[in-house]
Symmetry: C2
Subunit: 415 residues, 2 copies
C-alpha cells in the first residue's frame, strides 16, 4: 500500500565526500561498472545529487512519462475527445496494461486487470475469495503485521460476508490453516521490516487446507520474482507506484487466476465489468475473464502514465532485478556495518536472502530525526513509527555507489 | 456515469455553409454576441471546425490542464518525489478539491471528498445509507431507468446489507416511499432522456418517510444548480468528467451531509479514511468529516488534472450557467423543428424547463447511423441504444451558433 513519508522534508544536499572506508567506495565503483542493469538508470528522470532510496514508497519518474501524458491530454483528450475511447484504445486500457505487467508477477495473459486503488481491489479480492470459499468456513486469516489498510479492509469484507478475522504471524501461518479457514490474506513482503514471506509454501499449505489465498504484492512486484501462476496463487492485488514506478497513486491491479474467473463474484459489479457494457441492460452479467474485476470508468490520465512507465521494463528480466536487489541490500548492510558505530542501528530485515525483499529496515532510537537529517544530506529513505528507518532499493535506478553513500552518510550522522 | 461513445468514429469536417433558414443563423449570431458566458470558451482547447455536443459524456480539455499536468509529472513527481505528499499538498487533495467543487453542487465546505470512480462511491454511499437507515427497513428503491451501473451496484449493496432492491419510476417515486423504505437512489438527470427529476420534492418526501436519500449527480453537476445543502440531501455521488471537464475517468466525488458524518460507516475503510493514517494502528478509527469517505492512495495525476480543470469555473455562477443551458436547448429544439422534416425525430427530453437537464435526446430510426453521419460532418453527439441521439450542451464552451449548426446538419442528413 501507499505510504507517503511523514518525516520533515528538506532539500537535496551534495554528497559527503570523505569517509572512513575508502575501499567500500572503490568496491561500489567496481560493482557499478560491472552491473548489467546500470544503464537502466538513464530511463528515469532523477534529481541530481540525491540518493533515492524511497522507491518502495513512490517510484521515480520514468523519463518517457511526461511526453506521454502531454499527448494523452493535448491530442487524445483535447483533439480526439470522446473518440479516444475507441481510437486511443482508452476503453481496453485496464486489460491491456494488466497484460503488460502480468509477466512481472508471473501471470499468463488475461488474469490481471488494472484500476482502482489497492484497498478497493483488496475488497473485491477478499469478498470474491469468501464467495469462492463458499459457506461452511468462517475464518479470514490476516497477516497480523500487515499494512493497516489490509486489516481494515479485511474487517469490512469479513463483516459483510459473515467471516471472522483472525490475525496470524505470517512466518508461522501455515499452522493456522484448517478446515474452518475460508480466506488467507498475506503480504508477500512486509512493508515495515522488508521480510519476504514464503509465498510458494504458504500458498500450497493454504490451498491444501481448502482455503482461498489472497496475496498483497505491493512490496514485491517489480523487485523480485512472484510467479503467481507457477505457485497456484488464487487472487492477488498490488499497487503500481512503488517498484513499478507508475506515479503517485497510480492505479492498482487485481489478479484473478484463470481457474477462478468463471466463479469470481465481485462486490463491486460496475458497468465496466459487464459482459456488454454498452447494451445498458438492467441486470449485471459479468464479463469473461479478469475484465469482470473492472468497476467504473478507468482514470485514463493515471492509467496511461502507468502504461508509459512500464516502458522502463523493456528487455529487463525480473531474475536479474532480483539478483541486483540482493547484491545491493547485501552491500548496503555491509557498508552500514562498516560505517555505523556498533549498537547504533539494528537491522530488522532478515539476513537470509530467502527472507529478504528489496528494502532494508534499520531500527534506531530517534529514527524520525535521523531520517530527517539523512534527507537533509541528500539521502532519501523514510521513517516508520516508532523507530524504523526504511531504505528501498530499486535495482532499475539505484546503484552500489548510492548504497555506499547512504550508509556512509548514516555513519556520519552517528559519528 | 461514464458513457464513451460507441458510434463509429470519424474525422471532423468543415461546417455546412448553406441552410434553409438563415434567420436562425442570424439569431444564433445575435444570441452569441450578447451571451455573457461566451468568453469562457477561450478557457478550453477545442478542435477547430467541430461542434462538440458530447460534454455530457466527456467534457472538453480546459486550456490550463496540460501545463499543470506537466508540472505535476516533471517537478512534483520527478524532482520532489516523495516530498510532494507534503510539499505539493498531494495528501490533502481529495478534501481540497472536494471543497473546490462543493459550491457547484451547493455544499458548504467539509462535505465533499474526491477520489475513486462513481461506481465505487455509489457503493460507499449505498452501504453507508443502509447503515444510517438502521435495521427494520428492508427496501432500497432505485430509479428504474437509471444508468445501469447504479442498478448493478445497488443490487450488490442490497445483497450485502440485507436489503431488497425495488425499481421505481422517479417521476412518481414519492408514492413508493414508505416505512419500509431504507434508502432511495435517484438520478438528478436521466442519462438517456435528459429528464431532470425534482430533487427538492423527492428528497423531502423520502426524508419524511424516514428514508435516506442518495443522489447521482453525474448528469447535473456543473450544468445546473443542485443545492444539496439547501434541499437536505443526505448523500450524493457524481463524476467530474462530464460538465466539470476533469478529464477521461477523472476521480468522482462523494457528498456526506454534515449531520451524517459522525455516523457514516463506510464499507471501504481504507487507511486514507483513518483518523490517524500514519499511526498505522491495527484498528480502523474513521476520520472526522467527509475524509472518512476516502479509501486508498489518491490517483494524483488524474486528481490534480481535475484541480486545474476547475480553474475554468473562476467567477462563473451556476445560475448563469443554467440560464444559458436552457436558452441553448430551447434554441436547439427550435432549430431542429425548423430544419428537420416533420416526423423524422422526436424529442424525448421534456419541454418544460423544470424537467430538462442540459442535454437534448432525439429519438429516431437508424439513430446509430445518423449519429455516425453527424460526426463525419463535424457535429459530435452520441448514440444510446436503441434509437436515441444525445446532444449535450455545456454552457462554458458551447454557443448558439453551435446549436444552430448541429440542428442544420441534422436537417441536411434527413433532407
Amino acid at each position: 500500500m501507499s505510504d507517503p513519508i511523514d518525516t520533515p522534508a528538506a532539500a537535496p544536499a551534495t554528497a559527503t565526500t570523505t569517509g572512513p572506508a575508502p575501499d567500500l567506495r572503490a568496491r561500489a565503483a567496481g560493482l557499478d561498472a560491472t552491473d548489467g542493469l546500470a544503464g537502466l538508470r538513464a530511463r528515469f528522470a532523477l534529481p541530481e545529487g540525491v540518493v533515492y532510496l524511497d522507491g518502495n514508497s513512490l517510484g521515480a519518474l520514468p523519463a518517457g512519462v511526461p511526453d506521454a501524458l502531454a499527448d494523452v491530454a493535448r491530442r487524445q483528450w483535447g483533439e480526439l475527445l470522446i473518440r479516444s475511447w475507441d481510437e486511443s484504445a482508452w476503453w481496453t486500457a485496464p486489460e491491456r496494461i494488466g497484460d503488460r505487467l502480468a509477466p512481472l508477477v508471473g501471470a499468463a495473459p488475461g488474469q490481471v486487470v488494472v484500476g482502482d486503488s489497492t484497498s478497493v481491489n483488496l475488497f473485491k479480492a477478499l469478498v470474491g475469495a469468501a464467495r469462492l470459499a463458499g459457506p461452511g468456513r468462517t475464518r479470514l486469516l490476516v497477516d497480523a503485521a500487515t499494512f493497516p489498510t489490509d486489516g481494515y479492509i479485511a474487517e469490512s469484507a469479513a463483516r459483510m460476508t459473515g467471516l471472522t478475522v483472525t490475525p496470524v504471524d505470517p512466518s508461522h501461518a501455515a499452522a493456522a490453516f484448517d478446515a474452518d479457514t475460508a480466506v488467507v490474506l498475506l503480504n508477500h513482503v512486509d512493508y515495515r521490516t522488508g521480510r519476504l514471506h514464503d509465498l510458494p509454501a504458504l500458498t500450497r499449505a493454504a490451498r491444501a487446507a481448502g482455503a482461498v489465498t489472497v496475496w498483497d504484492l505491493c512490496h514485491s512486484a517489480g523487485a523480485l520474482p512472484v510467479d503467481l501462476d507457477a505457485h497456484g496463487v488464487d487472487l492477488a492485488v498490488g499497487c503500481t507506484y512503488k517498484y513499478l514506478n507508475g506515479g503517485p497513486g497510480a492505479p492498482a491491479y487485481l489478479y484473478i487466476a484463470e481457474r477462478h474467473q468463471q466463479d469470481f463474484d465481485s462486490p463491486l459489479p460496475g458497468w465496466n465489468g459487464h459482459a456488454e457494457p454498452f447494451a445498458m441492460t438492467p441486470g449485471f452479467v459479468p464479463a469473461e475473464g479478469a475484465r469482470r474485476g473492472r468497476v467504473g470508468t478507468p482514470d485514463i490520465l493515471s492509467m496511461l502514465a502507468l502504461e508509459a512507465a512500464l516502458d522502463a521494463w523493456a528487455g529487463v528480466g525480473i531474475a536479474d532485478v532480483r539478483a541486483k536487489s540482493l547484491a545491493l541490500t547485501d552491500f548496503f548492510l555491509e557498508c552500514v556495518a562498516a560505517y555505523v558505530p556498533a549498537g547504533r542501528v539494528e537491522s530488522v530485515t532478515p539476513a537470509a536472502h530467502a527472507e529478504r525483499g528489496s528494502q532494508v529496515s534499520l531500527r534506531t532510537d530517534d529514527a524520525r530525526a535521523v531520517m530527517a537529517e539523512l534527507i537533509s544530506r541528500g539521502v532519501v529513505g523514510d521513517f516508520r513509527a516508532p523507530d524504523v528507518l526504511r531504505f528501498g532499493f530499486t535495482p532499475l535506478y539505484v546503484g552500489f555507489a548510492d548504497a555506499e553513500r547512504a550508509a556512509r552518510t548514516l555513519g556520519h550522522i552517528f559519528g
